[in-house]
């Protein structure tokens, strides 16, 4: 990671409000809820940078806006306002949230990879595992079935899934295997940025450890930037170079992971760190 380089991703003033809003909306917030009209500010004026080769961790309690940010970056949600620039899209000069539908597909399939907390959102459960990976390759323009199969085989091997099972549908797999299939799918087109949304949540400890090892391996081998959302500080400590702590849709604190965890400044971060069992 080098902070002098152009960031892979720059987010500025990202805000997403649920509800119709009111003329004074956002001025009087109770947590992240407007006291006047009841609109929820799921994300409120977030700005962040992700640098090449960096793992940026985002932690925070449920409802703090972590997933809202991730899924907005992957175009699942539409921001109320804000700017997101990708180094590899229009040389970082165009807001990806203003991109055409075709450009959005290109960004999703070539520049970014996403691993959802719930594999149902990221995988076609009734298609074969090979097809799930090929979907990304087809969307990126590949029309060579043999090459796609070889690529799927290679990716599945790298995430330690037996290639003899590539014809099976992911619905037959365990939760950990589904997450690993999602990861291989996200890596299919060598994206510049990987979005990992609570990838270890709901997995037992041994499977969690394997998934975390895999992410470390990916970081070392591919050198891609990763935006990692978790509510588990241990996961963030293990993987993230820098960490952002979110609270009620806002950034409470940010800095180097060690600094955040060893010397938390914000009251919420202190509470979070001290609540570690």
């Amino acid at each position: 990671m080098c902070l002098n380089e152009t960031p892979v991703l720059q987010v500025r003033n990202f805000t997403l409000r649920y509800g119709s809003g009111c003329p004074a909306c956002g001025e009087r917030l109770e947590k992240n809820r407007c006291a006047l009209c009841g609109s929820v500010w799921a994300a409120n004026d977030l700005s962040l940078d992700v640098y090449p080769g960096e793992v940026l961790g985002i932690v925070g309690e449920s409802g703090s806006g972590k997933t809202t940010l991730m899924r907005s970056l992957y175009f699942d949600f539409t921001p109320t306002f804000g700017l997101a620039l990708l180094r590899d899209y229009q040389e970082g000069r165009k807001n990806i949230w203003e991109a055409s539908a075709a450009d959005r597909r290109m960004i999703k399939n070539r520049i970014m990879g996403m691993v959802y907390q719930n594999p149902i959102l990221g995988l076609r459960m009734n298609h074969s595992t090979a097809s799930n990976i090929a979907e990304k390759l087809i969307a990126a323009g590949s029309r060579n079935a043999g090459q796609m199969t070889e690529r799927a085989r290679g990716l599945l091997e790298s995430v330690e899934i037996m290639t003899s099972r590539m014809g099976e549908a992911p619905r037959n797999f365990s939760g950990g295997m589904q997450q690993r299939v999602q990861i291989s799918k996200a890596l299919a087109n060598n994206p510049a940025l990987l979005l990992l949304d609570e990838v270890t949540t709901g997995l037992d400890l041994s499977v969690q450890a394997r998934v975390l090892d895999l992410i470390r391996k990916i970081k070392a081998e591919y050198g891609i930037s990763i935006l990692l959302v978790s509510h588990d500080l241990a996961v963030v400590r293990m993987l993230a170079d820098r960490t952002i702590v979110m609270l009620d849709g806002k950034i409470a604190e940010s800095g180097l992971t060690d600094q955040i965890l060893e010397d938390p400044q914000h009251a919420y971060t202190q509470q979070l760190v001290h609540s570690l069992i």
Partner: protein
């Protein structure tokens, strides 16, 4: 001819609207043009799209041929022919060369059609993307953006599961390099006949209210992966029991008495022609 009805059953305004939609379809090959599908004395889904096209295009000098699954003598073909004959008095024929207007379901005649001929196909589901996307507004966007990846994924999934593309009919194709088209439920054996043909192909879906076209000499390419070429059905080692043809689309049937498996040309008029019988 029934004098109680207008020539060709439909009123002139309706016929004009359908012809306008047909012209637009010809102008944008493969694009599905919406039209106001009319009520007919048969149920939707029984070929009303094809019949409306035929009725709106037919003139007193036309020679009409109607086929159903390749046969001129099936109940559907005979009744459509009878209906159009009664309200137009045009001459009907079983000879594919002689006909100026051919309405068909499930097959394209074996003989190459010429530039004076129009082939009207009855289409149940005009949208090739329907198997991957149920929402009409989404499929329209997908066509506009040429977002055909989900169909390619279906073909790839077939390769993974069965080691080959198993679609036998309604095999999707690209028309003039832009629109993906469902060639109606013709067997994929007939897909190559759409490519740079001399005749005009019109497709009518009455229930779905869509008309689309492949104009003469238009490029129609069936989807195929770079390393796995498109492959129509083969009938190696088999031939028609009547005319001996080995290069036509063959129907499989069983002799009720002996249980023997037999093959016969699906295109009955072509089979008769080869045998030298009167068509």
């Amino acid at each position: 001819m029934y004098s109680d009805y207008n020539f060709a059953f439909l009123d002139e305004g309706s016929k004009r609207e359908i012809r306008r939609a047909s012209l637009k379809a010809v102008a944008i090959p493969g694009y599905q043009v919406p039209f106001g599908s009319r009520e007919l004395p048969i149920g939707r889904g029984w070929g009303t799209g094809g019949i409306q096209l035929t009725l709106s295009l037919i003139g007193p000098d036309d020679v009409l041929k109607v086929i159903d699954q390749g046969s001129d003598e099936s109940v559907n073909a005979v009744n459509i022919k009878k209906f159009i004959g009664l309200c137009t008095d045009v001459r009907t024929t079983a000879n594919s060369r002689e006909a100026t207007l051919i309405q068909t379901r499930h097959r394209i005649p074996e003989i190459p059609l010429s530039d004076g001929q129009i082939l009207v196909l009855q289409v149940p589901i005009p949208e090739p993307l329907r198997i991957v996307e149920p929402r009409e507004e989404v499929t329209k966007k997908m066509h506009a953006e040429k977002d055909y990846a989900p169909i390619w994924l279906q073909l790839y999934e077939s390769l993974v599961k069965y080691k080959k593309v198993t679609l036998a009919s309604e095999y999707p194709c690209m028309v003039a390099g832009h629109y993906m088209m469902n060639p109606s439920p013709i067997p994929k054996f007939d897909n190559p006949k759409l490519h740079k043909a001399d005749c005009l192909y019109l497709f009518g879906a009455g229930r779905e209210k869509k008309i689309y076209a492949v104009p003469p000499h238009t490029e129609v390419v069936s989807l195929a992966f770079d390393d796995i070429p498109f492959e129509p059905e083969h009938f190696e080692g088999k031939k028609c029991r009547l005319c001996g043809s080995a290069d036509t689309y063959l129907d499989e049937m069983f002799d009720a008495l002996t249980g023997e498996k037999l093959y016969q040309c699906s295109d009955t008029s072509y089979c008769k022609e080869v045998r030298g019988a009167c068509v």
